[in-house]
């Protein structure tokens, strides 16, 4: 019989107890932590306004904002003029995003897959990408008018670049082994692209799409600020010019819900499509 036995230790039957070093603040459940931050934030806000530190024209109280949110919410739900404005902005966002995906993906494949694209096209894309893209807004208005076209163009313009970069990076993600393997199988360039490089690069492509989804919102609203029209951005601009700050606040909050919805949609699609890729959400997620 060997010296080492399955149950060798004297305290057999006793489980070893691990002292896990988790600080108290990290062990708070997420919803409590989130509520806590929310309460602190709103509390500070309330205090600043009720102590008269800031004029109510500059910063409305949380209560005023909430009241106005209810008003705006009613208008949206009953199909009032704000719903129409929101619908216009959403159309700009959706068309802009679709356009950005189509152009961004095509350019990304050109740049990521062909030596020509990498050598001759990428430098120009980088150059344009470093420009402040909203500065093009007046041009788009001049070219396309005050309708939704100029906003769609600006939204797409802003969102295209992260998608190009994500796609190109994704196509370079496949390692040497995978390329070699496809070569041994006699795969054509097209097969290698579709069956190996693109699926391998999906995580990067989706990262590009998510950055693009944020950019497309910013583009549409900036376009409305600078180019008029009848969208949500126009409502914000008018409310601000009337110093109706509670309205500005509540409009922005509703708008951010649209942005969030778009982001969540992309995220959800990613989870479904790239089911094998587990994203690291945060450093403290077990």
């Amino acid at each position: 019989m060997s010296d080492v036995q399955a149950n060798s230790s004297a305290d057999a039957g006793q489980d070893t107890v691990w002292v896990q070093e988790i600080s108290l603040i990290d062990s708070i459940p997420r919803w409590i932590a989130m509520t806590f931050v929310f309460v602190v934030f709103v509390g500070t806000w309330q205090l600043t306004t009720s102590l008269g530190l800031v004029s109510p024209i500059i910063l409305p109280t949380p209560m005023e904002t909430l009241k106005d949110m209810i008003f705006v919410g009613q208008n949206l739900l009953t199909g009032g003029y704000m719903l129409l404005a929101l619908w216009i902005t959403m159309k700009e966002v959706i068309y802009g995003f679709a356009l950005a995906i189509a152009i961004g993906f095509s350019l990304g494949v050109l740049v990521g897959e062909t030596a020509f694209g990498e050598k001759a096209v990428m430098p120009y894309l980088v150059a344009i990408d470093t420009m402040p893209k909203v500065a093009f807004a007046p041009l788009f208005v001049a070219w396309l008018g005050f309708g939704i076209e100029s906003k769609v163009a600006l939204a797409a313009f802003i969102a295209t670049f992260p998608i190009v970069v994500g796609t190109a990076a994704g196509l370079h993600a496949a390692d040497e082994n995978a390329r070699m393997l496809f070569k041994t199988m006699g795969a054509t360039r097209m097969q290698t692209l579709i069956k190996m490089k693109l699926p391998t690069g999906l995580p990067q492509i989706f990262t590009g799409l998510k950055i693009g989804a944020v950019g497309v919102m910013a583009g549409a609203i900036t376009g409305e600020f600078l180019g008029g029209g009848r969208g949500f951005g126009e409502l914000i601009r008018v409310a601000a010019s009337q110093l109706n700050t509670p309205r500005v606040f509540s409009l922005i909050l509703y708008l951010s819900l649209v942005g969030l919805a778009l982001y969540v949609l992309v995220q959800w699609t990613q989870r479904k499509v790239v089911f094998w890729h587990k994203e690291r959400v945060g450093a403290h997620d077990a």
Binding site: D175, N177, A178, M180, L181, F182, K183, T184, M185, G186, A187, Q191, K195, M196, P199, T200, V274, F275, W276, H277
Partner: protein, 269 residues
């Protein structure tokens, strides 16, 4: 060292010659590295040959040339009577990494070569065969599992099946099990031996392990670096089938020592 003589090498007298390499040389244009000079060798049907040599002596280069992945600078490679000018269906290859694709299940990964060469319909028809192969390598029940749920050894078994699905005449193996622990590695080697016997496949294995080379091979090609060339061919006349306990026999030890001696000599050349 009389390399001229050593390079003239004909494989063990198994069957007809399948692979014939004549004066194969490779100089990488990019950095002018002479990876191979004047390699001449013949592999016979059903033989198992290993290549061993220090890092950078051109083993992978040789394998890639044989597989038709890169062209030789000079020389001629003929497989089953036809010159190798690119990747071919009758060549199966395996690398150090299993390289399974995470969006395909194990069995879908295995039929991938068929999907690429003959299309999705043919791949579907090959599923039965893939299941049989998986059973042979002990992966029954893991057909529809995704690769990230497979262990390293299971992943390499899957890639063996992927290599075998096209029924290649020759198997080119570049350190296929070197990423595995020693126990699974021994097991996989015995499995490899069995598969090669059953399929009467001709195998060509690159390895860094002298033991592995001796236990598996009919002949061991010892290579030397700068420039990469064949130094000596060591025949292994241990009886077949080989078993792991042969590793303790004096004969095994003698062959291992001989090869180690050759490799050590190579170091200070």
């Amino acid at each position: 060292m009389n390399t001229a003589l050593a390079n003239e090498y004909s494989g063990a007298p198994h069957g007809a010659p399948v692979y014939e390499l004549t004066n194969v040389s490779k100089t990488y244009a990019r950095n002018k590295v002479v990876a191979l000079t004047e390699v001449t060798l013949t592999l016979c049907k059903g033989s198992f040959t290993s290549v061993i040599g220090s890092s950078g002596c051109g083993k992978s280069t040789l394998l890639k040339i044989m597989a038709g992945l890169i062209p030789p600078t000079k020389g001629r490679v003929v497989l089953q009577g036809r010159p190798v000018t690119g990747p071919r269906r009758d060549i199966g290859m395996m690398f150090q990494q299993a390289t399974l694709f995470p969006w395909k299940t194990a069995v879908e990964n295995i039929v991938l070569p068929i999907e690429i060469r003959d299309g999705a319909a043919a791949a579907k028809k090959a599923l039965d065969k893939a299941h049989e192969l998986m059973e042979i390598v002990g992966l029954k029940g893991f057909e529809n599992v995704y690769p990230n749920e497979l262990s390293g050894g299971m992943a390499q078994r899957t890639s063996i099946c992927r290599m075998l699905i096209t029924e290649p005449a020759v198997l080119l193996l570049d350190e296929p099990f070197s990423a595995l622990d020693e126990l699974s590695r021994d097991m996989m080697n015995m499995e490899l031996q069995r598969i090669c016997r059953e399929q009467n496949a001709t195998a060509f294995l690159v390895t860094h392990s002298i033991q592995e080379a001796v236990i598996l091979s009919d002949d061991i090609i010892v290579m030397k670096p700068r420039p990469g060339r064949i130094a000596e061919v060591v025949p292994v006349d241990l009886p077949r089938p080989r078993t792991l306990d042969m590793m303790t026999t004096p004969k095994f030890g003698a062959i291992v020592d001989h090869i180690r001696g050759l490799l050590d000599k190579g170091e200070d050349m």
